[in-house]
Amino acid sequence: MKEQTPLLIMEGITKEFPGVKALTDVQLNLYPGEVHALMGENGAGKSTLIKVLTGVYTFDEGSVTLDGKSIRITSPLEAQNLGISTVYQEVNLCTNLTVAENIFIGREIIKRGRLDWKEMNKQAKELLKTRLNLDIDVTKLLSFYSVAIQQMIAIARSLQISAKVLILDEPTSSLDQNEVNQLFDVIRKLKKEGLAIIFVSHFLDQIYEITDRLTVLRNGEWIGEFKTNEIERLELVSKMIGKDLNELKSGERRTSNKAFERKRPFLQGKNISKKGKIAPFDMDIQEGEIVGLAGLLGSGRTELARLLFGADKADTGEIKINGSMANLASPKQAISNGIAFCSENRKTEGIIGDLTIRENMILAMQGLQGWFKYIPRKRQIEIADEYIKLLNINPPNPEQLIKNLSGGNQQKVLLARWLITNPKLLILDEPTRGIDVGAKAEIQKLMLSLSKEGMSVLFVSSEIEEVLRTCRKIAVLRDHKKVYEFENDQQITQKDIMKAMAGGMT
């Protein structure tokens, strides 16, 4: 591979947004048949580099060379035509079209002057089945499926294009281990076929498993290019963060459990169900307890969480809060009962794109206070500044529009939105999705310390490791049914949970 010439060379790339210098003199060399990781903290400029490459943004300075030819791409369409296929960080598909259409649109199969739906549906189904082991009805609208499935479909779409360069921007952020393995098999195959692949992820394990080489960015600057097997984890992290990070090593596994003593129940759910969504289940959450929800893709974790929050209305069941009956028919009621819910789908259910960081942060709090108790602007800025610092949000400007933030930073703002309301129960659906290593550790620490102060947390995550580390109790879902509940003591291992998820334990 050494003697090969790079397929793609980006040099001296500089990109400035009004007020933010997103990229300064960045370079990237991509060889055919390699998987190349882009590494960096949230807001380091990974997605921007990708968007510059695929023509979503134009760059201010620098040059791009593909196959020895200098190019300047001005639109995603052009990028595709040049053989660059991309899965962007946020799922960018059309929810009003069917799965098959989403896979084929732009490159439809035409037979006798008309689109051949039969063939496209067939091929789409096959593609999802064979490549990603996903057996779903491809004639259903995309909106029918959860974000994770949508992400798989986006990946399938990019695979369907015969390309020279494949770019995957955090494709694994909401996938569970099985799906990740599936994806990696595909990547390995493509690699053998000589494709050059750019891969972005905040999971170091995945980086070390699949990538050959990596480029590290920090604050929009190029830090260096390394061979993956030649750089230590710790060194990599310190390159990304810019300082020695010994704290991260501390690995205080399950410390919380010892500190936690059973107090009194905060929420008691009995026989809650919604037809077609989730079978009747009971759920108790103690004050100050962190409860994990584990399950495979589409097992119904999100649905369960939404019912507890009143985002969907339950058909049956009753919920007691602090011992007395509560009516959680709408998010508003749930919030006034001290429940908060951070959705897994930040683009459509989380951010209010046109508003600023400050406004996004105080929204839930203001909703709680009502129309007339308006939080004075000065106070708003104080709050925003406080949480920007606490969660290390970049850029640290409360007046920046949230849609201009990097994915991970958006997630932090949403987390702040809920922390500000000072909830009794915080429901987090994949909260660490797209968040970098440092921040992830910070958030876990925060969860633990909040639980010590008496806040309960319902924690949905596809990373069993993470769940095991933080939760005292773990509920497992399978096929829209709560099948198991573990007390998290030292005996429980990742394997046990996986077994329960897959159905080996009932």
Partner: protein, 331 residues
């Protein structure tokens, strides 16, 4: 998760609309003598042929998440151009017709370009287009121009018998051809699917590498063309060109499209639905004329009331079955 169910859930608004139309027709037939006849039904098509054609064009615009307010004015301008070319310039219809069709096509194309290249809001651009087209009518002539031309008279008065003494006009045939073509375009061509994608999410469409700009420009061109074609049908219908023709028609058209089940936010809806929407507006008027006792203001109130009835019933039916639908479908 059977196929049948899924088909239903997608086509439900359309089915509800057709059902409501039938109910309305039955209501009219029971209440008024002479209502239950094939000709009354066919008259809906004869009298609304032009509206069907504009609604088809508008459907594409609305499906893409845009809006076109210029359609009424373009109809007027087309009729004016056709009339003045025929009567004042004495050109033959073989020339007049393509030239008139060009009017809306060019205007639509220009509006599409403004919307795409300068990122302007469709509402405003087409509103300007609406003012402009009507203004141009008056520049040609403030008075109406009568058309005395054999070809036009032929198109206007030819009756195509469909049996039982009933007839339709040539315009109906044109309109139905347009509908068939549009359904094909919407579902079996790349352009059609791009329109839906654009309406679903413009940003996603862009990132998926779809030709967003080209599609947008084409959409407004198509709508402009449809308006001009409707303008010609309207000219056959009226045998005159006039600056006040089709005043306020844009709202009727939008209403028809939306009643036909297309979402104004884009991305969901059917061409066939818009046709039913037009027929519903038509039948409301027919019922009111048959009633024949409403004063001018009660006419307006009655139109509003019937519109309300339709929309609310449609909402209720769709909302009702959606809740039962999803729970059944996912098991």
């Amino acid at each position: 998760m059977t196929k049948g169910f899924q088909l239903d859930s997608k086509h439900l608004p359309l089915a509800a609309t057709i059902g409501l139309f039938i109910v309305m027709f039955l209501f009219g037939s029971l209440r008024y003598t002479g209502f239950f006849s094939t000709q009354v039904f066919l008259n809906l098509f004869i009298d609304n042929a032009f509206l069907i054609v504009v609604a088809v064009g508008m459907t594409f615009v609305i499906l893409s998440g845009g809006i076109d307010l210029s359609v009424g004015s373009i109809i007027a301008l087309t009729s004016m151009v056709a009339a003045s070319l025929t009567m004042n310039a004495q050109l033959s219809p073989a020339l007049v017709i393509p030239l008139s069709l060009l009017v809306g096509t060019v205007l639509g194309f220009s509006m599409g370009c403004l919307i795409h290249y300068f990122n302007l809001q469709p509402f405003i651009v087409t509103l300007a287009g609406m003012f402009l087209a009507r203004g141009l009518c008056y520049l040609i002539n403030v008075e109406s121009i009568t058309i005395n031309n054999e070809f036009f008279s032929f198109m206007a008065s030819t009756r195509i018998p469909v049996g039982g003494g009933n007839f339709i006009s040539i315009s109906v045939i044109i309109a139905l051809l347009v509908v068939v073509a549009a359904i094909f375009v919407a579902h079996f061509t790349k352009f059609g699917r791009n329109v839906y994608a654009l309406g679903g999410s413009e940003q996603s469409a862009l990132l998926m590498g779809l030709p967003v700009g080209k599609t947008k420009i084409l959409i407004y061109t198509v709508s402009g063309f449809c308006s001009s074609l409707a303008g010609l049908i309207f000219t056959f219908y009226m045998l005159s060109g006039y600056g006040l023709h089709a005043n306020g028609l844009e709202l009727d058209t939008i209403a028809a499209v939306v009643i036909g089940g297309t979402l104004l936010t884009g991305g969901a809806g059917y061409v066939a639905g818009s046709v039913v929407g037009v027929l519903i507006l038509g039948i409301i008027q027919t019922v009111i004329v048959f009633e024949g006792t409403l004063s001018s203001w009660w006419t307006k109130i009655a139109i509003g009331g019937l519109l309300l009835l339709f929309i609310v019933l449609q909402r209720v039916i769709v909302a009702r079955s959606k809740t039962t639908q999803t729970s059944i479908a996912s098991h």
